[in-house]
């Protein structure tokens, strides 16, 4: 079922301005087509029949904000999404990272953590996890809570296990978690080197220097100008010769950074030149 159009384009603008002024969250440079769908979807979910109703709730009930932001952003993710990307990490990036005494990785827009656990598994298998730290950040505190727990639905595991094998995994994937009825919990040792924290790519600044920054399927939700701003933030956060990984359909091409980076073959991974 398609969502009905309850919120018009100009009303969306008003709403985004409200949220920015009242709460300091700036969505004005997000891609509008997706945002429109998400806002109409939340009207349906939370039974707002009009723009006025939604606006009233948002402006008068600050506690509604978290749910609103969680629903208008897209948190869909999976483990070993695009297995060839993870294969490239294993084969082309980790051998380089292994030469450092200490490896810092930033996962920006990590959502519910499936990506973080995938990378932790890769690091373990490359025997690098003991000297790594994964900073996993997202705008939404709710998804980070899920990430921290590492508990996921068991019916996903078949797909994840297939992805894992395609990524070059040779272990028994089920050895990384314990099943309990409909859920699985990933092993605690995978969480040992993960640090979860909220971080807003629109308004927060760089907080460390990394050898690898992974930000996949987040930039697709941003307009060009904001993309460039966020890419600058990543550039500021990367050590010389560090790696930047983007989503399967995202690119550094056409951005201001293009000239300072070199792409690894056909992968969505770029290496900072100096």
């Amino acid at each position: 079922m398609l969502e009905p159009t309850i919120i018009k384009d100009d009303e969306l603008e008003v709403l985004l301005a409200d949220i920015s002024v009242l709460y300091g969250y700036d969505f004005t440079q997000y891609s509008k087509a997706s945002l429109k769908r998400r806002v109409n979807r939340i009207c349906l979910l939370d039974k707002f029949a009009s723009f006025a109703e939604l606006r009233y709730r948002l402006t008068h009930y600050p506690e509604y904000l978290q749910r609103f932001i969680e629903e208008i952003t897209v948190n869909v993710t999976e483990m070993f999404r695009d297995p060839t990307f993870y294969k490239a990490l294993r084969e082309k990036v980790f051998p380089q990272l292994g030469t450092y005494p200490f490896i810092r990785i930033w996962l920006a827009g990590c959502s519910t953590g499936e990506e973080a656990y995938s990378i932790a598994i890769l690091l373990k298998e490359a025997n690098l996890y003991h000297k790594s730290l994964i900073y996993a950040t997202d705008l939404n505190p709710g998804v980070l809570e899920t990430a921290q727990k590492g508990i996921y639905a068991i019916n996903q595991m078949r797909q994840y296990s297939e992805n894992y094998i395609l990524s070059g995994g040779r272990e028994d994937f089920s050895s990384y978690y314990r099943a309990n009825y409909e859920m699985v919990k990933f092993n605690a040792d995978l969480r040992e080197k993960m640090i979860f924290s909220t971080h807003n790519l629109v308004s927060d600044s760089s907080f460390n220097a990394f050898q690898l920054v992974v930000c996949r399927n987040v930039l697709i939700y941003f307009e060009k100008e904001l993309q460039n701003k966020v890419l600058r933030l990543f550039d500021d956060s990367l050590d010389p010769l560090g790696f930047l990984a983007l989503g399967a359909k995202e690119t550094l091409r056409f951005s201001n950074l293009e000239k300072q980076y070199k792409q690894l073959d056909s992968e969505k991974i770029w290496r900072k030149l100096h």
């Binding site: 891609s31 087509a33 997706s34 769908r37 399927n217 359909k249 995202e250």
Partner: protein, 196 residues
């Protein structure tokens, strides 16, 4: 020669699922490369890196075929293919965006999602065609386009490898035209605002 009295077509959409690839490969060679609008394909396809659907389509077309990436710009006379595992949306008349939100009708890309997004941006200036398929996706989107004043076509179900998808659209009155594959290319060609 455009159709008398109808709005100029600025975008043509084609949605398809099971059995639609053969139809496309048959008709694309006959579509003229100087179309005055872009053609956007939303096909249900398996996610996977090895898919070379864009190359296959390019080999059967006189137009350039581009698999859409984030913020791809639209040019007339070019075919755009929605990538596997993303919904394709329209930001404005010449800019596409991608979105990996929940599947709709078990599909990502979903034909309904793209058809609705296109209608919201192009209003009546869009044509859309729904091909063979075993899925409920597409019928609602085609109806949405018709309601917004767009021009809609369904593949004649009796010619479809899987009749379900176009038949659903026709049942709900979403199709202005019902065409067999052999007439599709000339139908599209005739929508182009040509000078001859």
């Amino acid at each position: 020669m455009g159709q008398i009295g109808r709005l100029e077509i600025e975008l043509f959409l084609i949605g398809g699922s099971a059995g639609s690839l053969k139809v496309l490969l048959d008709m694309l060679p006959a579509v003229r490369p100087d179309l005055t609008f872009p053609v956007v394909l939303i096909l249900h396809r398996k996610a996977g890196p090895e898919s070379m659907l864009d190359i296959l389509l390019a080999n059967h077309s006189n137009m350039g075929v581009i698999e859409v990436e984030d913020k791809t710009t639209l040019q007339p006379g070019t075919v755009y293919l929605a990538p596997a595992d993303y919904h394709l949306l329209f930001e404005h008349k010449s800019l596409l965006s991608l979105d990996c939100s929940e599947k709709l009708n078990y599909s990502r890309p979903s034909i309904d999602v793209s058809f609705q997004s296109a209608a919201d941006i192009f209003r009546g200036n869009v044509g859309a065609m729904l091909l063979s398929g075993a899925n409920a996706d597409g019928a609602e989107g085609l109806a949405y386009i018709k309601k917004s004043g767009g021009l809609t076509v369904a593949q004649d179900p009796s010619t479809a490898e899987v009749a379900y998808m176009p038949a659903r659209a026709i049942e709900r009155g979403a199709a202005d035209h019902i065409l067999p594959p052999g007439q599709m290319a000339s139908f599209i060609n005739n929508l182009s605002v040509s000078t001859n």
